[in-house]
């Protein structure tokens, strides 16, 4: 259990005012940034429910943008992120929605670029977050582990083909299939690091469309 660490009780050092609505938002932005790993032409942040209702007052909008631009949770520039040079040259917008089928603190990060990508996640309390879907594939990325994410044509034997190439301990593995059952996603949380060579070797496997290596969050 993560809370069982005293350091977790007396940290994080963060920009206020809310661990779920500010620090959590920054972390969701950071994870989306790591996941996309490229320069988008435009990003739309769709905030839901409590994120939509109290987001302005908590700086949720600022946090999401700041995270996406690479600022960490304790960076005081978050407060003025809209006025910073890095965001002036960046095309972004916010939408505020209500959908009670979604978590109270849910967000979609809709990225236009090459490729287009929609990343959805929740801020689940005490600054902890989870990315739970990418382009409608369900995934589980919480930023605590380096995570390898794959989208591929669902052919037999794929899991063992991939895992046999991974030289570090696997903390967890989740798979999901899209509606038609043709394409699938795999989400592998790792106890260690993967080199670029290994990531490339996995990418070179037949029938793999997308490979993303999402580094764990430092704070």
């Amino acid at each position: 259990m993560r809370q069982s660490s005293i350091i977790d009780i007396i940290s994080p050092i963060m920009v206020g005012p809310s661990s779920s609505h500010t620090a959590g938002a920054v972390r969701l932005g950071l994870l989306a940034r790591n996941l996309y790993n490229g320069m988008p032409s435009k990003v739309t942040f769709r905030l839901y429910n409590s994120y939509a209702k109290t987001g302005k007052g908590h700086g949720t909008d600022k946090g999401l943008l700041a995270g996406f631009l690479g600022l960490s949770v304790d960076d005081v520039r978050i407060r003025n992120i809209f006025d910073l040079e890095i965001s002036k040259n960046f095309d972004y917008s916010f939408e505020y929605l209500e959908d009670f089928n979604r978590h109270p603190n849910a967000v979609d990060i809709v990225i236009d670029g090459v490729p287009n990508l929609t990343i959805s996640g929740d801020s689940i309390g005490a600054g902890e977050v989870v990315i739970n879907s990418i382009d409608n594939f369900s995934v589980k990325v919480n930023g605590k582990y380096n995570t390898l994410l794959l989208v591929y044509r669902d052919i037999p034997g794929m899991i063992s083909k991939v895992t046999s190439k991974i030289p570090v301990n696997i903390a967890s593995l989740n798979c999901d299939r899209n509606a038609k059952g043709e394409d699938a996603s795999m989400c592998i949380a790792l106890d260690g690091e993967l080199s670029q060579d290994i990531i490339k070797a996995i990418h070179d496997l037949p029938s793999i469309y997308i490979v993303r290596y999402i580094k764990k969050l430092e704070s």
């Binding site: 660490s5 350091i7 620090a23 302005k56």
Partner: protein, 295 residues
Amino acid sequence: MEKSVNISTFEELAKACEHYEKTIYELSQEREAELSEISVPEVRILVKKSLDAMREAIQCGMNSDKLSVSGMCGADCKRLQDGFANRHALFGKLYEKIVTYALATSEENLRMGKIVACPTAGSCAIVPSVLIAVSDSLGISEKEQIDALVTAGEIGRIVSNKVQLAGAVAGCQAECGVASAMSAAALTQMRGGNVSQILNAVALALKNLLGLTCDPVCGLVEIPCVKRNPFLAIHAVTASEMALAGIESKIPLDEVIDAMEQTGKLMSPMLKESSEAGLAVTNTAKSLWKKLETL
């Protein structure tokens, strides 16, 4: 005897301290080191990082009267300092320091300054204000401040084994309530209290805060959170004074935590951070909501 890594109740903690003839912070930092696979000095460096950030937040907070984004709060620490400049507090300088540091930190939080969530952002001012005001006034060494903060962390950790430290789960008793109990522990440690006195201080502080609801106005960590922090900082001092005098909580600490868990469960969801009851639905709160929507 349980290995220190497995300590999950206060009774186990007290027994282990007795068995190994160690203080709470010694056991706690050893456990943390083992768990995170780092050394004890490395654990203490992490703790010092939080301590330094707490000091910084107090400094920044005392020098600002900038309002929060909502405009509801942010200038009260300035008012308090001006007030004390003209009319000294009844309880003296140390009291002035504690409440000033607490308000400074809380306000720094709401204006999106850098703070330490301890255990949460809403309750971020209680532990630092007591710890730093007292150590400044009594000349307590940095080593002892770190000891005290580790002690506070251990208290929060064991409570969190039973009750998630989140207003949405168990009300404000689990945020500001626990922060006040952690402060009582830190203070008792700094003043040379023994293990039993530290745990009694925690029990006394917590017992008195059971049922504290979480009903933030406009859903923001501002009203009542900001002003609650200085109140509960002083509350911690009372608990510590009683415990140091040898006063015991008739209800053992683990049972107090059980009561807290039950109280949290029985508390209506409307009073647990959803802003659907209490202060959050007063007429004034409703008009504040309206104003906020035009922001």
